[in-house]
Structure formats: structure tokens, C-alpha cells
């Protein structure tokens, strides 16, 4: 296999793109998708190192991450739907009533 660094670098790039997405996009759903991208990048690194050390633990962890991500998406989207009902908008900038 390739040296593990390549995979780490790729994962880092994906992760940063995901972070930028969270910071830049105003559509709540797109923000959520960026979060999924971040998680995915992490999964990639896990699997890479599982292959490197020849330990199954990495893959098991990815399994759980996926599960949790799925649950999180379900709940998160339900939240967004609920917020949409009140605010009629999915612009995160409009959820600012906690302004100090």
C-alpha cells in the first residue's frame, strides 16, 4: 500500500474543506452536509491507520461513527424542519436571538 501519509493528507484536505463549509455557508442544510464531510474525512484516516497497523479496531470505530452520524443526521434534520416551521427560513444567520 501507499505510505499512510498520503491518506492522512487527503483526509486533512477534506476535513478543511468541510470546516470551511461550516463557516462559510449560510444554508443550514449545507452546513450539516459539511459536518458529514468532516466526519467522513475522519473515517478515512481511521481506516487508513487500521490498514497500516493491521488492527481491526479502526474499522470498528468507523462502524460506530457511521452509526452515530446517521442518528445525528436524523435528529438534526428534524430540528431544522422544526426551526423552519417557526422561522420560515433555513438561514443560520437568522437564528440570532441569543445576541448579547
Amino acid at each position: 500500500m501507499l505510505p499512510v501519509y498520503y491518506y492522512v493528507a487527503l483526509s486533512a484536505i477534506l476535513f478543511i474543506i468541510g470546516t470551511l463549509g461550516v463557516l462559510i455557508r449560510r444554508n443550514a442544510i449545507v452546513v450539516f452536509m459539511s459536518v458529514e464531510l468532516m466526519l467522513n474525512a475522519a473515517n478515512l484516516v481511521f481506516v487508513a491507520f487500521a490498514r497500516y497497523y493491521q488492527a481491526m479496531e479502526g474499522q470498528i470505530f468507523v462502524f460506530f461513527v457511521m452509526t452515530v452520524a446517521a442518528a445525528e443526521v436524523a435528529v438534526g434534520l428534524a430540528l431544522i424542519v422544526a426551526i423552519f416551521r417557526t422561522k420560515q427560513s433555513i438561514n443560520v444567520d437568522q437564528i440570532n436571538t441569543l445576541k448579547g
Binding site: N43, R51, I60
Partner: protein, 175 residues
């Protein structure tokens, strides 16, 4: 070896490009679709990394279930209903700068640590990453997290139903 490099770089290119595409596309549907592409690419990477079970799980759960859900919600709420005006003007530049910095840091780490982790052998057991291997680990060493995760899923189900249910009624008698 060369094939591996070519394969890796081309796939990496697709992955990054789709990610960037998700980042910049105005239309939420397009963004979602870019993301699906990304997930698929990552699934191929998993295959390359001797994790077939995970790869299939990626495709079926992530790309199949989660992204579908995303698409449903996007279509439910209406695509891109965000105005063109930026509320915080300095957010983008700062984020960009920070992203660059982080990238630089990570690059530095990687480049300076090149010789730390030695390469690994290409020989690997046939059963590595197989469903059987995953299953054995899940049901023996990691049984507790497995069970807890099932509870977590239950909570997620109940939660999403609760959140959407009362929101709909909004003062009327709920069903």
C-alpha cells in the same frame, strides 16, 4: 505500485473536486449530489484499504440513507432560500485565512514527519476487513458499545419523531 499511485491520485482528485463543488455550489441539491459523489469516492478508498465491509456500509448508509434523507429535507423545505447578502462580511475572509493556515500547519507536520512512521508491508491477511472479522470484533470485544449504539439509535428515532410531531400541531391538539 505505479497503478496504486495513479489510482490514488485520480480518486483523490475526484474526492477533492466534489468536496469543493459541494462547498461552492449555490444550489443545495447540487451540493448534496456532489457530496454523494464524494462519499462514493471515499467508499472506493475504503476498498483499496482492505475494508470491504466498511466500504459497502459507506455506500449503503452514508450515500444511500443519509444523503437521501438530506435530499428529502431539501426538497421539503425548498431549495436555496437564503438571501444573497452576507450578515457578517468578515467571516469569509477570516475563515479562508484560517483554512490556509491550518493547511500549512498540517503540511508542515506531514513533511517534517516523513520518516517517523516506517512503511508497512503490502502483505495482509485475506480475512482482514471482512464482515466476519468485523462481526467477531463487534460481538466480542466491543459488545457494550454495540448495545449502547442501539440505544442511541432508539433515542434518535424517538427524538426525531418528537421534534417534528409537536412542531406540526403548533397549538392545536396533536395527534
Amino acid at each position: 505500485m505505479t497503478i496504486q499511485y495513479i489510482l490514488f491520485f485520480s480518486l483523490a482528485l475526484i474526492a477533492v473536486a466534489s468536496a469543493v463543488g459541494m462547498l461552492i455550489s449555490r444550489n443545495a441539491i447540487y451540493a448534496a449530489l456532489y457530496l454523494v459523489l464524494n462519499f462514493a469516492t471515499v467508499a472506493v478508498f475504503f476498498l483499496l484499504l482492505q475494508a470491504p465491509f466498511i466500504a459497502i456500509a459507506q455506500v449503503s448508509v452514508y450515500a444511500g440513507a443519509i444523503m437521501v434523507l438530506f435530499l428529502f429535507v431539501i426538497m421539503l423545505l425548498g431549495a436555496e432560500q437564503v438571501g444573497p447578502q452576507q450578515a457578517i462580511r468578515w467571516q469569509r475572509p477570516v475563515a479562508a485565512v484560517l483554512g490556509v493556515i491550518l493547511l500549512a500547519e498540517l503540511g508542515y507536520i506531514l513533511l517534517s514527519q516523513t520518516g517517523v512512521l516506517p512503511g508497512t508491508s503490502t502483505e495482509i491477511a485475506e480475512a482482514f476487513g471482512s464482515p466476519a472479522a468485523v462481526g467477531v470484533n463487534l460481538f466480542t470485544a466491543y459488545l457494550l458499545p454495540f448495545e449502547v449504539t442501539s440505544v442511541l439509535l432508539l433515542v434518535a428515532i424517538v427524538g426525531s419523531i418528537v421534534l417534528t410531531r409537536f412542531g406540526r400541531t403548533n397549538g392545536e391538539e396533536g395527534k
